[in-house]
Amino acid sequence: MNKVFHKRRLFGKRFGKVNPGVVISLVILAGFIICGIFAPFIAPYSPTNINLGDALKPPAFQAGGDVHYPLGTDRLGRDVLSRIIFGARVSLQVAAIGVVASGIIGLTLGVISGYKGGWIDIIIQRAVDIMLGLPMILIAMVLAIIFGASILNVAFVLIIIFWATFARQSRAETLKLRNLDFVTLARTSGTSDFIIILRHIVPNVMGSMLVLATLNVGATITLEATLSFLGAGIPPPAPSWGLMTADGRDMVVTAWWLSFMPGVAISLVVLACNVFGDWLRDRLDPKLRTI
């Protein structure tokens, strides 16, 4: 009996015909991850180094700009480029914690829900429905008041929001798999549920989990940035992209680059996640194709 009943070809012979958007997305994502991991080695300055003498320098390409600060400096003279590079680290951390933890929780609950059925299924389903129907930004804001803004707060909010999307998807996939011959066969031959789930269900659900995870990386980054922007996420002086955007907000007239630049970083990374995620979904399951 085969473990994975059909391995979908991801990088088949048609790999040569890859669309340029996907390649660019991969380059952006690779850059993002490298910046996140090696920020101290890449960034020209410390993200928190205050240098009031060089405050509010415009980007290098603009009149009055300084080549030492390619993207300009903020009101405390901190290098915007360095802060963006270190900001990648914050976003990467948050996305990694949020997506991995909620993915594991969601996958576990979703597979159990779909495989077991019955009252467990009903309870988990209801919980998913309610979770997805709640105004999450407001919950995060309430929690920010209760606990104070912190990275833990953000991680907690991301997990309680995103596990439900993973659970819904993995349950649907499990339901489809449960009645396939090889699962039924394993069940009638006395294999324990735990082994069946581990050997036959989970490997086949992983593909769509991967797609969802990619798309959710984009969503978690946006949400973190939004919460930080609203003062309910990462507290200053950490270089969160959302926080940086918020900081520059009241200076749009005098220093447009302050909020513009970090926003470009967020947009590029999220865009790359979405383009790559859509492509991955088309590859894994053409039936899910939307646009």
């Binding site: 309610i130 129907g133 920010a144 003062g231 947009s267 865009l271």
Partner: protein, 305 residues
């Protein structure tokens, strides 16, 4: 039909109940909320009085009952900052939020529907590519950044529109665009895929067999069917923009509930934040119920069930 309605209503009530339990747990898991509910200058006697009023000396089920009783009586406590009932504050701000959300979604529908249809009928042509690009951009650009960029372009550089405030139509345009862009993208995407599903149906061919001009085939026969999932989704999206307005209202200093929520975080005004959360949760569920009822009128097939 009545059975379906009763069914849906029961589900809605169950969802309301479960959400209230969840919110209760969320709000109480910090242990003692009295300190959050009182101003820092409150005396120990105030604390003790509030504890009795909230029934914090009682077991949890009783606490939940008291919590719900207060909510159902419209008693959400007083704002720590304004020293006014939370419900009054929210009620005063709600019309502005509703106006913004309706405008943004109406704008979104007005743009997304026709372009979604055109993208579907011009598959793989430039119109379709434009739709794809718009959809992915709208899905990816964070709306707080979009809002700031809009201000930069239209207020700071071009000077055409005010960057913030409330009043005439001029003030409404930028926030509505910032809030509506995401809905344009989402509805565009859904309209396109829904139209593509419908266009391959036999009844579309029947319309052509009748000799109907293509214009009517697309905009009457196909769109009327394609609209069913789109309208359902637009309803859900509308509810989402109500909560999403926190960001846009903050940027544009729009005096709605969203801005109130943001100010409450800054001022650590817990009763206000809690009240907004509870009311919006209830609103979410009620809206979803309404969407299901609208769906009933859109799709005649549902009535039999």
């Amino acid at each position: 039909m009545t059975r379906y309605l009763i069914n849906r209503l029961t589900q809605g009530i169950i969802a309301l109940f479960l959400s209230s339990v969840l919110v209760f747990i969320l709000l109480r898991m910090t242990g003692d909320p009295t300190l959050l509910l009182l101003t820092p200058d409150a005396t120990l006697a105030d604390v003790a009085a509030l504890r009795v009023q909230l029934g914090l000396d009682q077991p949890y089920p009783v606490q939940y009952f008291l919590f719900m009783r207060n909510i159902l009586q419209g008693d959400f406590g007083n704002s720590l900052f304004y020293h006014r009932p939370v419900l009054d504050l929210i009620a005063a701000r709600f019309p502005a939020t509703l106006l913004l959300a309706i405008t943004a979604n109406a704008l979104g529908m007005a743009i997304a529907l026709p372009f979604g249809v055109i993208a579907a009928t011009h598959r793989e042509k430039w119109q379709d590519t434009m739709a794809k690009v718009t959809a992915i951009l709208g899905q990816s650009l964070p709306n707080f950044w979009l809002g700031i960029v809009l201000i930069q372009i239209f207020s700071v550089w071009l000077g055409w529109l005010p960057s913030s405030g409330y009043g005439s139509l001029k003030f409404l345009i930028l926030p509505a665009v910032a809030l509506g862009f995401g809905s344009v993208a989402a509805i565009l995407r859904l309209t396109r895929s829904s139209m593509l599903d419908v266009l391959s149906a036999d009844y579309i061919r029947l319309a052509r067999i009748k000799g109907l001009p293509e214009r009517l085939v697309i905009w009457k026969h196909a769109l009327r069917n394609a609209l069913i999932p789109v309208v359902t989704f637009a309803g859900i999206y509308f509810v989402r923009t109500l909560a999403g307005s926190v960001v846009v209202e903050t940027i544009f200093a729009w005096p709605g509930v969203g801005r109130l929520a943001y100010e409450a975080v800054v001022r650590r005004d817990f009763p206000v934040e809690q009240g907004i959360l509870i009311l919006f949760t209830a609103l979410f569920i009620l809206f979803n119920l309404m969407i299901d009822i609208i769906y009933l009128f859109l799709d005649p097939r549902v009535k039999l069930r």
